[in-house]
Structures are given as C-alpha cells and as structure tokens.
Homo-oligomer: 373 residues x 2
C-alpha cells in the first residue's frame, strides 16, 4: 500500500490548540502555551510542525484550528495560510468534547459527509510517511462508519500516557490493520506498564480521533445529549450574524468533558471504535523528561541544551537545560537535572520529578503568584 501524496478526499484536519502544558512551566505559560514553543529543535513551533504535517493530508484550505481568543494573534502569526473561516475561537476552555464537537458540527453543516481528523497542536511525530499511511487507513475506517483512533505501538513502558487495549482484527476495506478496541486504560504504574508492553495488545492513546463528522456527533449525542444540543445550536448560528450572541449564550454553559469519555470509550464499549496501530515515533512532550529524551536520543548521560544563544558550561552533568535568558549557566555534578531558565522564573528539578511540575503551578496559583503563570 502506498502512502497518499495528495490530499485525502473529503478529509478535514482539526487542530485543537488549547491547554497550557502546566508540566512545562516556566517555559509554557498562560500567554505562551506549549504549542507556541519549539521543543524539538526543528526551528519552528509545535503548532507549525503540526500544520506542516496535516496540510498535505487535507489541503491547506481544509485545516481548522480551535483555540482560545487570547491566542488568536499568535496562531495566525504561526499559520499565515490559515483561512478565516477555519478559525474557531473559544471564549473560554470547555475541554475537548466541546472543541472537537463544535468543529465537527460546523464542518458537517458546511459539507455533509465530511470526515474529520483531530490531532493535538503540541505533539511530536517523526517518520511522517508512516503517520500519513496510518491516517489514510483511519479515514477509510471512518468512511465505513467507525469512530477511529490511531494508537501508537509502545517503545517502552511509559507511565505518562494512557493505553488502549486492542482486541480482534476488523475487516475494513482500505484499513487492513484496523483492530477493534477492548478498552481504554488510564496512565498506569510502571509495573503495569511493563505488563502492557510485554502483552503486545496495548497501544498508547495519542488522542487522535478520526470520524465522519455526523457519526462523531451521533456518538456524542448518545452520552451527552445536552452538550450535543448546545453544539448544534452553535453550529447553526456559526456562519450567520447571530454567531456572537449565540456563543455568548451557549458556550460558557457547555459541559467540560474529554472526548475520550464522551465518545471514544463508549464507542469502544459498543464495538464501533476502530484502532489503527501507528508504527511512527510519537510523543506528547508532556514534561521535561520527555523533552530531554527527545533530544538525547534516549541516552541517559547526555545533557540537552535548548534555547537560542544558550551559554551552558557543564561538568559531569546530564538532563536538560532550557535557557531563555542568555545568562551563563554552569552545572557541576548534577545528573538527570532539569533547569529551565526564563526571565522571571527558574525551575530546578530532576527528570524523575518532571510530572510533579504541575503541582508547582497549582501551588503558585494558590499562593497568588499568578504573575509568573
């Protein structure tokens, strides 16, 4: 099977660009969320990387971005090709069911039968031909009526991701590797993650959802009928002069719920969810340990240095340094260290504690230090 090298028929990409990335504080901030950073050393932001990956799949005029009003200018600066009618602005965050559901409803109204694929704005994918191949299979399964997710073949017993337990092979034309899903499981302990990887039937949940827009809305309506009603009311008014008034009235009342819970898990339980195993390198770069790993190629003894004009002098040290200040940074004998140096805030921790960074953000909120959030 060949990888498609022209846009996929009837396909529309959706990029929910929300979420601050609290585990990446003080790099990621309310006014500079994770998707606006270059965390890979590619020379461009994760959002731009995401666009570059998706635009060839759907066509650049068929990529919709759902983001917060506060980020509109930054998003448009990153994506000059993004068309106005493809920008959906949230007045406040209402989680992924509302964001993706509204995109689905707007697009389905404009183009009945459209197939949407939702991909986070701040993930990292290497080996893009394999990614495009998986999306092509996912679209074929979506066309057959399935809610589809791409699950990533684990390369290690990661504890920072959720897993999907797969079941039997499905028989879908154009999607030869599609599997049915047995269940979704939350981030496991290391011992359980090891069992998952050894078992061979578990894939990482990368939060990629591909479906016919009408099918996605149908599934959403089964579990969250009120949320669906609100979304449909918004979509009805979206391309009319009523948009602003209806958004003000309806959006703030939408239930906050992740699409995993409102659509994916119920569909898995009902046997209408298909999983395409992705063989490509994927990471949600959810914390600094993940960024360090990304840059060290997995070698424990390396020190990853990020930041333009970084001046770092290191002696017997490993981990990650992010410098946004140009200051001289000297490290002596610190292993698996995480040093994030920004003009108004400094974080020092270790890779092993990377997941705890969110708790610092919570503590800063509680202590009234919102100036550095």
């Amino acid at each position: 099977m060949r990888t498609p090298n022209r846009p996929i028929d009837r396909f529309y990409s959706v990029i929910p660009a929300g979420g601050i990335g609290s585990r990446l504080w003080p790099l990621s901030r309310a006014d500079a969320p994770k998707f606006l950073h270059d965390l890979t050393g590619s020379g461009q932001t994760l959002l731009r990387d995401t666009w570059d990956r998706l635009a060839p799949l759907s066509g650049p005029d068929r990529v919709m971005v759902v983001t917060g009003r506060a980020h509109r200018a930054a998003v448009e600066a990153q994506l000059p090709e993004l068309e106005d009618h493809n920008v959906v602005l949230e007045s406040e965050p209402r989680d992924s069911s509302a964001a993706i559901g509204l995109a689905a409803a707007i697009l389905n109204k404009r183009e009945p039968g459209v197939i949407i694929g939702s991909f986070a704005a701040d993930h990292v994918i290497k080996s893009e031909p394999l990614f495009r191949h998986a999306v092509a299979e996912a679209v074929a399964a979506a066309d057959a009526g399935y809610i589809v997710t791409i699950g990533i073949q684990p390369t290690e017993p990661a504890i920072g991701f959720g897993y999907i337990k797969t079941a039997q092979q499905l028989d879908i034309e154009g999607a030869p590797s599609a599997l049915s899903a047995d269940s979704f499981v939350e981030k496991p302990s290391l011992a359980i993650a090891k069992r998952y990887v050894a078992n061979g039937h578990y894939l990482w949940n990368a939060g990629m959802f591909i479906a016919r827009a009408d099918r996605l809305l149908e599934e959403l309506g089964k579990t969250e009928p009120e949320l669906l009603a609100g979304i449909l009311e918004l979509a009805e008014a979206w391309d009319t002069p009523e948009r602003g008034a209806v958004v003000d009235k309806v959006w703030p009342k939408l239930k906050k719920i992740a699409i995993d819970y409102s659509v994916a898990e119920p569909a898995a339980a009902a046997g209408t969810l298909a999983v395409i195993p992705g063989q490509f390198d994927w990471d949600d770069v959810g914390d600094f340990a993940s960024i360090a790993k990304l840059h060290s190629g997995g070698r424990k003894r390396d020190l990853a240095i990020l930041g333009e004009g970084a001046r770092v002098l290191a002696d017997s040290s490993s981990g990650i340094v992010v410098s946004h200040t140009g200051r001289m940074i000297a490290l002596i004998g610190v292993e698996d260290i995480v040093v994030i140096d920004t003009p108004d805030a400094l974080l020092v921790t270790t890779s092993a504690n990377a997941q705890k960074v969110k708790s610092v953000v919570d503590a800063l909120k509680l202590s009234g230090s919102s100036d550095v959030l």
Copy 2:
C-alpha cells in the same frame, strides 16, 4: 580569666581583604569578592562583621586593612571609621606574606614593639567572647616572642580546612592554654580527617596569626630574605612622598607565597610557634556547602534561602538557594542542591560538588567568558 573589654595594649589588628573566593562564584566576583557579601544573614558584609569583631580589641583607630586598589571604594564604604593611614592598597595581589609582612613593617616602623594580629576579612565567628579571650592569650604569647596562631577545636572531620598538629603545653604567662605545634598539615581526605578529630591533638588552621611585628619580620627574613628586603624598602618609603614610586618599582616583584609557608611552618619546626586552641565557632565559608551548613544549623534536610526579596517555592528539596534576581525559583525533589541565581550567571550544583566550583571559574577564564567572572 576575664575576657578583655577594653582595647589590648600595644595591639594592632590587620585585615588582609583579598581573594575573590572562586568557590563562591557566581556570587563572589572579581568586582564583588566574598568579603563584600553578607553570607551569614547578619544584614551586613563579612568585612563589616570582621571590623566589628576586631575594632573593640585594638581600638577602631588601630585596624589596618590591606586590599586591592579596585576594592578601595567598597572597603571605605563598608568601614567609614577606617582611617586613611590604615589603608594599604595593593597594586596587584602578591599573596599573604607580602600583604601581612608589609603591614607588619609599616606598623613596626611607626610603633616599634607593636603586636599585630592578622585575621581574614571573610571568615565567620560566633561566640565572640571566646574569640576575644583567645586573642588575649595569643597577644600574651606574642609578647613573649612567639609567632602565634589560633587553632580551632574541630567539631567535625572537615576536609576543606588544613590542620595543625599540636604538641606539648607551653608555659607562657597570660597564655595558659598555649601549646607548641608539631606540624601543619594540608586539607586531608575524609578518612584522615576522621583520624585527626578522634586523635584530639589536631586543630583547624584558621589562618589567624598574632606576633610582635619585629618577630614576624625576623622569621620571614630567615626563609625569604629577598621578600623581606623588598617589604622593608616599601615600609621605609611608605609614609614619605616616595611611596608611589617605590611601590611601582618593588611591589610587582615580590615573591608570591602564603605566610603559612614563609613564617608559620618554619616557626613550628623551630619550636617558636605557639597555638592557642579556640573553642569558638569558626568557618571560612569557603564554599556553598559551608554556607548551607551555616544556615541550616547542620541539619541536612533544610533548605537555606539567601538574598533580599528571594521568592522560592520548594517541594521535597534541601540545600541552599541564593537569589539576587527576585525571580521566582521553584525546586522540586532536589536534595543537597546549590542554586545561585544572579543577573548574568546561574550555578546549579550539589553540596558534595561545592569544592569544584573553582574549576568552573577556571574553565570560564579559559573559554574567554570573563564577562561573568
């Protein structure tokens, strides 16, 4: 025996205020050496603490400071009571034999028979009555013709200090606790330091020297006659209009040698060195581990926070943070950490590596990063 509470007869304090304190980079700098910092939380610099300790012993008009030309203004700002004729400016550092020897020669010329006591500008002493008591004994032993040092009763097997091995009790009027010295030993390994402390005859070498100025010069002349000749030439011209010309000619050629080697060790070998055991708390605050200990009262699990307006949020962390930037500093799960945050340089290391900080300074010199030295 009572502690003296008025100036000691014929006594003159000398404070060599030199040395950058490379192990305290990036706090201590060429233009802001260690003695100009408040490392104890006393609210004033170590130099001022030293002055306040010595001025009552000799009288404020009898404290001489030997420092570099570059530090003159800072020293005078710290010590407004310091009289002009008590300032000896070095055109460049020539080590302690030259600095203390010149002070001795100048003072001996002005006041034959004077007894000088030389005390570093950047050490920390608690329990000052015990210190004054030890100095009084040292002056009595000096008056009897001895070169005298005050050795500190060890409280732990420190590896950052040199040791003095003491021998038998001396019988000196006014100095009942004076001991003769067997030998001086350099900074030992931990195993050897433990033996020293268990042995009971070893004291820390705190670099305190008390002697009749003429005796000190006599001992110096035995080992370093050329150095002595240069010093005497300088002293001869010091209070005349020739000072500048003679300094320019003689000072840069003086041999660089520590007074420990030129005077103290030879005197110990010759049986003319007396040691007064000091029971007071003393530290040379030579590295960040030492500062951390000073502030934690020796408790390993504490986090010492220094710096005006420091904003530190710490979770399961211990060690020391010095903040000179006012930035928010967050620490998560880092133990015995050392974080020194200054406007143009940041150091992250551990207490165990505190002695290695000097090597970073050396590396910065070599790499041409003198802007942060």
